[in-house]
Amino acid sequence: MLLIRCPYCEEDRPELEFRHAGEAHLVRPSNMDAMSDAEFERFLFIRQNPKGVVFERWRHVHGCARFFNAARDTITDKFVTTYKAGEPKPTLEGAEE
């Protein structure tokens, strides 16, 4: 069970309080109608799924209920950092762009 630092609560809490919410920094386009089917597919379904650092979203669903972002190594499952929604993606060594 992971131990996750909620950047809003500023506490390390067990994974049971959280819900994973998929890849982070996918921005919902404002002009969706103008997107081609291929572009929409990319937005909706194509995922990085990196072996290494993944940027992902979590929700502290049984805590403050906020969504936030995390950088986590998918090989070790160790968190590099967690940060609030809306904050820029941190630059990390070895992370895929």
């Binding site: 994974e15 194509i46 995922r47 990085q48 799924n49 072996k51 986590r72 998918t74």
Partner: protein, 417 residues
């Protein structure tokens, strides 16, 4: 190939079993192959076998970064069934099931396919509706699947608790009698041996580090830890690692990789005669020939390549098993392990050509790939050999995520109300 038989064993017994040759060769790679398969799991090895057997393509290498059969093939709970709802799914899984029946004889390797029956439990009215829908669809598709009352279910599986006292009582079940289990290692080894016998090179400890394409765009080979190996066609059959490999060829995939755990109990005398699955309480259980209860857990919620998951997932699975089979509470978990499963947005596989000429992909089997092994290899070999999909895998394209023509078995079981 040295034929396996009771007679061969008896003869070998007289000389201390020193006469057995290797089951598969371990050659150094050639500079070029007609087809390279990346990934020596069950699906990859089966693909190579059927390329050789059905299409006469024997200049084939299967590259494996670790040891053959060491991924999900050797880490799953070996459930085999084909009672899927949609025509597309029933088509491919039943194609596989027909191949399972007779696979030992075809490969001359006892893969211990055991048609013990797969029972799926219904715990509420919604489950009944969903499972009945499966039965009706299966019947018209020629796939066996029948409805059992709780009493009939208990007759078939005596440890089942059908008292009304549980939190989610069993109110019925489906049974696919042709469903069952097989011996996972034997599947990988049997295909490896039979493919090797037909000239396929199985190259273990050979990690693919890149793909090479001609200026025109078609595939020309792969870079590996053993150097560049040329190929006219490349099939990626790498389960959880597919995203990373396809990225090398600039193909980005609708895949995410999740940890999936499983466990076995200590071995006991025969007590559990079939496979029982419950999607509602999340329990998947059978008993191996060795006597271990084989129990599948759910995936963790986050993506990972760690081949390890959380204990709470195991706990939750054991909760459900003990609810359904309260006499197993005194049994003990002997070993648990994790695999990496690759999941598509509709949780159905991709078995298809890719935008890159000469590059083919077979992935996205999620938690249920083992049962498809022979069928998957069979139609994927066809796809590679003919450069066009077999009728059976034609629906399992990459394009469906663009068009929206999804094959979503899980959505069909969606809980709402």
């Amino acid at each position: 190939m040295r034929k396996f038989s009771a007679f061969a064993i008896a003869r070998e017994a007289l000389r201390g079993h020193k006469g057995w040759g290797v089951q598969w060769a371990s050659p150094e790679p050639r500079s070029e192959y007609d087809v390279i398969i990346i990934g020596a799991g069950g699906h990859g090895l089966a693909t190579a076998y059927y390329l050789a057997k059905e299409h006469g393509i024997t200049n084939v290498a299967v590259l494996e970064k670790g040891w053959l059969g060491g991924g999900n093939t050797g880490r799953n709970t070996t459930i085999i069934r084909s009672n899927y709802l949609y025509d597309e799914s029933a088509g491919i899984y039943d194609h596989a099931l027909k191949l399972w029946d007779g696979l030992s004889q075809d490969l001359n390797y006892n893969v211990m396919y055991s048609a013990r029956g797969v029972m799926m439990l219904a715990h509420n009215v919604h489950d009944v509706q969903v499972l009945q829908r499966h039965i009706h669809a299966n019947r018209l598709n020629g796939v066996d699947n029948e409805w059992l009352t709780p009493e009939q279910a208990k007759d078939y599986c005596p440890p089942l608790n059908i008292s009304g006292q549980t939190r989610y009582p069993v109110i019925g079940a489906t049974l696919q009698r042709r469903g069952g289990t097989a011996r996972h290692d034997a599947v990988a080894w049997g295909y490896a041996r039979a493919a090797s016998d037909r000239g396929v090179h199985i190259i273990q400890n050979c990690e693919v580090t890149g793909t090479r394409r001609a200026p025109q765009g078609h595939i020309i080979g792969v870079d590996t830890s053993k150097g560049f190996i040329g190929a006219k066609k490349v099939g990626v059959v790498a389960a959880g690692h597919t995203s990373v490999l396809m990225e090398m060829a600039d193909v980005r995939m609708p895949l995410e990789s999740y940890p999936l755990q499983a466990m076995v109990s200590e071995p006991v005398k025969p007590v559990f005669p079939c496979v029982v699955m419950s999607n509602t309480v999340h329990a998947y259980i059978s008993q191996s020939d060795k006597g271990e209860l084989v129990i599948g857990a759910g995936t963790d919620q986050y993506t990972s390549y760690s081949q390890a998951g959380g204990l709470h997932i195991i706990n939750h699975t054991v909760d459900a098993i003990c609810e359904m089979f309260p006499m197993f509470r005194r049994m003990k978990m002997l070993r648990s392990w994790g695999g990496i499963v690759d999941v598509t947005p509709d949780r159905s596989p991709i078995l298809a050509k890719t935008p890159v000429q000469g590059l083919y992909v077979n992935c996205g089997w999620g938690t249920g790939g083992f049962k498809a092994t022979p069928g998957s290899g069979h139609v994927f070999a066809h796809t590679i050999a003919r450069d066009e999909p077999h009728r059976i895998n034609a629906p399992f394209t990459l394009e469906r995520f663009r068009t929206g023509r999804l094959i979503d078995e899980a959505a069909a079981a969606a809980v709402a109300h």
